[in-house]
Symmetry: C2
């Protein structure tokens, strides 16, 4: 079934299946979407409405205890790939009362004293919410691996730990939507340069960004291993080409919409006597 400008299911087209090779993905591509930027922006605006309505229904259903469903969007990417733009333009269209956003930074001393999944578990969305992880437990097998922040054996252990954790999470009613925003190194260079050129963007630039950038091939290898090891049936990865910001936003919105449509939340029936309450209210 195609919706809006999509020629097929974004969740299938972008999904990481067996044999997937990140090196084969063109970050400038816009797979599955036939429209241009203008129609993409129009579709994004329409989708914001739908996403908001679906989330409100999910929230309503959860309040009466009729469901334990929620959605968790996991966002990973190289610097400047557009995670912030997704949060602002896709997630930002939803009522803040239904959003649970966590931006994971380098772990604190307390966090480091626990298993790497400890801080993540605490931030899983409650029923009815759309949770968003801006970075996640995958940092522990990305920068963790590239920078050797943990012994090789420990990194190795983490892939299985992640799969087990995500299987449990999924079984508890949380639909996990994992997204890597994929830009080209050339596109990143332009975006970082823009941050250096505009005084209102200087604060977004960090000299460390270039240090990481110099390790680009090693990061791509680490992502490939993440995809090989942790793209599972219950929690598959999606690689979203992100040189076109508008396409990436539309694609992530589409993935969220499909996750919510699959839950198909309904307005819950009243768990009180409506007519009796009308009388009581009228008399009050």
């Amino acid at each position: 079934m195609s919706t809006r400008g999509w020629s097929g299911e974004a969740s299938e087209i972008l999904r990481v299946d067996k044999g997937f090779r990140l090196a084969d993905v063109d970050p400038g591509d816009r797979p599955g979407y036939d429209g241009d930027k203008k129609s993409g922006q129009k579709d994004l605006a329409v989708g914001i409405e739908s996403l908001g309505q679906l989330q409100e229904r999910l929230f309503a259903e959860s309040r009466t205890g009729d469901t334990t469903d929620s959605v968790l969007l996991v966002l990973q990417a190289m610097d400047s790939a557009g995670k912030g733009g997704i949060v602002r333009h896709v997630v930002g269209g939803v009522d803040p009362q239904g959003i649970a956003l966590t931006a994971f930074k380098a772990p604190t001393d307390e966090e480091r004293a626990h298993d790497f999944l400890w801080r993540v578990e605490q931030r899983l969305p409650e029923p009815g919410f759309i949770g968003v992880f801006d970075r996640s437990h995958y940092e522990d097998v990305l920068i963790g691996k590239v920078r050797t922040l943990a012994p090789e054996q420990e990194i190795e252990r983490r892939y299985d730990a992640i799969n087990e954790f995500e299987a449990q999470t999924s079984a508890s009613g949380i639909r996990i939507v994992k997204v890597m925003l994929h830009i080209s190194p050339e596109e990143q260079k332009e975006r970082l340069m823009e941050r250096l050129e505009r005084p209102d963007k200087h604060w977004k630039y960090n000299p460390g960004d270039v240090d990481e950038r110099m390790l680009w091939p090693r990061y791509m290898d680490a992502y490939q291993t993440v995809f090989d090891r942790t793209s599972t049936e219950v929690a598959p990865w999606h690689v979203v080409p992100a040189n076109s910001k508008w396409y990436a936003r539309l694609a992530v919105q589409e993935l969220l919409l499909k996750a919510l449509e699959a839950i198909d939340p309904q307005w819950p029936a009243a768990d009180y006597d409506i007519e009796a309450e009308k009388k009581r209210l009228a008399a009050s």
Copy 2:
């Protein structure tokens, strides 16, 4: 200085000063704003842009450690007065990355085992954020008083404890904007009746709402005491007539805008050598 359709400073016009009497406020009034609903909605849309820009600058400034400023909006009201609409339509216009929203429910057992301010302290906004409390520590002297959930002496102690807590909070760089949305009991009856009449609103209705409604005069007394005891120079209360939803949203937006304008956040200067970084990036 008047801005947009305001004939004066909303923060002064709506502020609870010595001698304030809640009974004198007409919930159907629209003090300080000369425009009609249409111009009010237009001004709200303009304000969303400004609020977003100010918050981004505040956030930027906080990232470089140049400031510890943040803003905390405390929302209190009788049921259906429009707290949710404020969160959706005023706060919802700001990038979710800069918002820290907490909806306080009846305290859990763990929370009850601590002082009433314990759970509130943990939810204070970090520098750079706009924190929003949907209900707050004031519940402990509102429903807490009306329903005698604590001994009279303990309720009495809490007003001073709140003032001390808010003085410290304010001194730490958090600008506290306290708002009571004030509707009439007649308006509430209509809004609750609408929830009973629309299947997509049934989940928002709770029979307990009518129980609280029956205690309306006692709640108004409890609010009056709150205003008498806790409207301080560093954290004054504002009573916003809220029978007109559009006016209430515009007024709360104006209060937030003024709080941010008073901070007057600036884009921080780069704490790195811009030209050296440009070269390093270009060579990477």
